[in-house]
């Protein structure tokens, strides 16, 4: 009885995993297809990778995606962290209001946020392009940073900052030497979320960009009307990079722990 149940759940999980990874494996396989077909694999070739590297719009969109993601991550992590620290010392009413508004971009459908920004930027008469895209990305990344830093601040021993002051640190020194190192895991995970949110964003970017400034998502969306296996090549590269980074992020703490344990034993 128990055995059959176990086998049942194993089969179920396998099917779900096939469902999850089928498109990913499919993309990688067909990026090496020698023909244009998206249905039949007719032989190995690297031609789509070559085409991709020679396609200036594709390379440009990769460039914009990375640059926007880096800037948006950096700026939103700094502002988000500073704000989270400020909020942790603010009174409850103010904190409540800011947190409510902060939740809006997360709770609202992205399309609503997108059109809101679109109308806002054109009301200001700003030309749509790199700047509007960057501002929009910063805007929707900060809430995630705040959400990931705030719990760390809440679980901090309130006496830690007092202890630093007590030992002669100015409030600023206490912040840099004691509080920031303590909430670092929250800041890093906030930055990581911000980076992927920005890297992957389509809907909001789609509404606020213009003048030929496209990111990868927009490129895929506009190119999807015609068959273009270069998209598969681009996708495969993204998949590999993301997978490597994620495995790294997940495995490093485990290895670290193991190493520490070993050190303690000896």
């Amino acid at each position: 009885m128990k055995q059959s149940k176990k086998i049942g759940s194993k089969i179920y999980m396998t099917l779900i995993m096939i469902f999850f990874y089928l498109p990913i494996i499919y993309t990688i396989i067909f990026s090496f297809n020698s023909s244009r077909s998206l249905t039949k694999f007719e032989g190995f070739s690297l031609q789509w990778y070559e085409k991709m590297f020679h396609d200036s719009t594709m390379m440009e969109s990769i460039f914009y995606t990375i640059v926007i993601a880096l800037f948006a991550t950096l700026i939103s992590t700094i502002i988000g962290t500073i704000t989270a620290i400020g909020l942790s010392k603010s009174n409850r009413i103010l904190k409540g209001i800011v947190e409510q508004i902060n939740d809006l971009p997360i709770m609202n459908p992205e399309i609503v946020t997108g059109i809101g920004l679109l109308m806002f930027f054109s009301a200001l008469g700003v030309k749509k392009g790199f700047m509007t895209l960057l501002l929009a990305h910063i805007m929707f990344c900060i809430p995630y940073v705040i959400l990931s830093v705030s719990p760390k601040l809440r679980s901090l021993d309130p006496n830690l900052a007092d202890a630093a002051l007590d030992l002669g640190a100015t409030p600023w020194q206490a912040l840099i030497k004691v509080i920031v190192p303590q909430i670092m895991p929250g800041i890093i995970s906030g930055a990581l979320i911000a980076f992927t949110m920005s890297f992957d964003d389509f809907i909001i970017s789609y509404f606020v960009t213009g003048n030929g400034v496209n990111n990868i998502s927009i490129l895929v969306y506009t190119m999807s009307k015609r068959v273009n296996p270069s998209i598969n090549a681009l996708s495969s590269i993204i998949i590999v990079i993301i997978t490597v980074v994620l495995l790294f992020v997940n495995i490093i703490p485990i290895l670290k722990e193991k190493k520490e344990r070993k050190n303690n034993e000896t």
């Binding site: 006496n159 202890a163 630093a164 002051l165 007590d166 030992l167 002669g168 190192p181 303590q182």
Partner: protein
């Protein structure tokens, strides 16, 4: 000795709540001062004001002849050992201790030297490179002390530093802390709610309650001459008895006059008498200054804690009428139901609720086959706040019903002038079955008789500690029985090395210097 710290009329108000109500306190150089009090008394608040982490609402803090109310914590020559230590988890032991020195940008070799000296002082030389999170509570505690002392403060503040340690470690650390204080020779201000800690370590104890100082003095002063009941009770166990000061050196309690060493009270002033348990001796009954019966004996490791009652408390006797009435049976609905008459006091009527009526009448309905209780759907009654008999009908959804009487009578109270106590209980009706089925008879008797006692001074409840009855609940038959309820009488706690049996008749002996007189209030 020089005055180092002066608190002048410190008031602290947290959102309209007065936490400190005007504290005046002087602390001298090299003193080990303990702020002692129950949680919420304001002791930690006072410490945090001195540390600079809180601003007082009113008053001044003077440190080394300078007003420091507006000096930020990082500029005060005061360091703190925090509750749960607040060690920086991302730094190792060495960096934690060196933190303050690094902030002051002291030369590296000096830092090294000072940190090593501190590690030696707290006996943790081997642990410099360890991660602080891997250390035990006791070790973390020592690091926290070292981290504070390395900055060579003039005053060290300790906020319940031993609270997180187990009993054995706590005792060790008490000695170690005292040793460290004597070695470094600076002022320690120590906050705790543990009276034993305060007594063993301090030069001076400040007892606080509700934001006010109750008493300041050396441990022996505070222990032997508590100024009021709160201090006496908070510092160690003690016997506190109401008394009257007849004259200087003459006190009356338990209707007898005794010699004592206290003076300076008004003639016939009402006072509290304190006698510590270790100052009382048990002697043969004829030799005792007081006579009583041993009520309980508890072994406490090195001695026995013996309770002797010298006088019984306030008591009241009521009648219990037991009948062998059978429950009402409703065959159609397959239900049984029972309830009994009960007495009430006029003053109870105002607060009478249906729940009380059900409880007092013990009204219940049940299914005779399954014994499952059936809820009572309806209660009809009409009552006026005057003596008389008022019917009540209980009925279930299926229509089974029982009618009983509520009898209002305003008597059955006993006032004890000497104890300033009043006790109340009423006669009651029960059936044989109910008595036989009771699983907590004394509690049930109290409920059935509605027995309660309270203090006439402040209207607070007084516990009814003894219930006396003269029937055997297992074999009871219908009839009238008496039940006596009583509060605790005069009891003395005595530390003895011999074991006495409960029920022994004994005498109590003490000397004039064992009696301590406190003002009332």
């Amino acid at each position: 000795m020089r005055k180092l710290i002066q608190f002048k009329n410190i008031v602290k108000d947290f959102d309209g709540q007065l936490v400190l109500k005007g504290i005046n306190l002087d602390i001298y150089e090299n003193e080990f001062v303990t702020l002692l009090g129950p949680s919420g008394c304001g002791k930690t608040t006072l410490l945090r004001i001195l540390g600079g982490f809180l601003n007082q609402t009113e008053g001044r803090v003077i440190f080394d002849n300078e007003e420091i109310s507006h000096v930020p914590p990082y500029k005060r020559e005061i360091n703190t050992v925090f509750q749960k230590y607040a060690l920086f988890p991302h730094m190792n032991v060495y960096d934690n201790i060196a933190f303050g020195l690094k902030i002051k940008k002291e030369p590296k070799d000096i830092i090294e030297q000072k940190v090593q000296r501190m590690l030696k002082l707290v006996n943790l030389e081997e642990y410099a490179k360890r991660n602080v999170t891997e250390l035990s509570g006791g070790q973390q505690q020592r690091i926290a002390i070292a981290r504070a002392l390395v900055n060579e403060p003039m005053v060290l503040l300790l906020d319940e530093p031993l609270g997180a340690l187990d009993l054995k470690l706590r005792k060790e650390m008490q000695h170690e802390l005292k040793k460290i204080q004597q070695e470094v020779g600076i002022t320690f201000i120590y906050v705790t709610h543990d009276q034993e800690e305060a007594l063993t370590m301090s030069d001076k104890i400040v007892v606080m309650k509700d934001g006010e100082i109750q008493q300041i003095g050396s441990p022996t002063d505070i222990y032997n001459e508590p100024v009021n009941e709160f201090v006496a009770k908070f510092i160690g166990e003690s016997n506190i008895i109401d008394g009257i000061m007849i004259d200087d050196y003459r006190v009356m309690f338990e209707d007898k006059i005794f010699d004592c060493v206290d003076y300076g009270f008004d003639k016939n002033e009402k006072i509290d008498v304190v006698i510590r348990p270790e100052d009382l001796d048990i002697v043969p009954r004829k030799d005792g200054k007081l006579k009583g019966i041993v009520r309980s004996v508890l072994f406490k490791g090195v001695h026995y804690e013996t309770i002797v009652e010298t006088k019984v408390g306030t008591s009241i006797t009521v009648q219990m009428k037991v009948s062998d009435e059978k429950p009402v049976v409703n065959i159609e609905a397959n239900e049984k139901m029972s309830a009994n008459d009960f007495y009430l006091d006029v003053s109870d009527i105002e607060e009478l609720t249906e729940a009380t009526i059900v409880a007092r009448a013990d009204a219940q309905a049940w299914n005779p086959d399954t014994e499952e209780l059936i809820s009572i759907q309806k209660i009809t009654y009409d009552i006026k706040p005057e003596n008389g008999t008022y019917p009540v009908t209980f009925s279930t959804a299926a229509g089974t019903s029982v009618t009983i009487n509520m009898i209002v009578k305003d008597e059955n109270r006993v006032v004890n002038k000497e104890y300033q106590e009043e006790i109340f209980a009423v006669n009651f009706f029960k059936t044989v079955d109910e008595l036989k089925e009771s699983i907590a008879l004394e509690t049930d008797l109290k409920t059935w008789a509605n027995a309660s006692a309270w203090s006439l001074e402040d209207d607070t409840a007084v516990e009814i500690t003894s219930i006396h009855y003269d029937f055997d609940p297992e074999n009871i038959v219908s009839g009238t029985y008496t039940v006596t309820f009583a509060t605790e009488g005069h009891e003395y706690m005595i530390d003895t090395t011999d074991k006495y049996e409960v029920g022994n008749e004994v005498g109590l002996m003490f000397q004039p210097q064992d009696i301590h007189i406190m003002k009332k209030g």
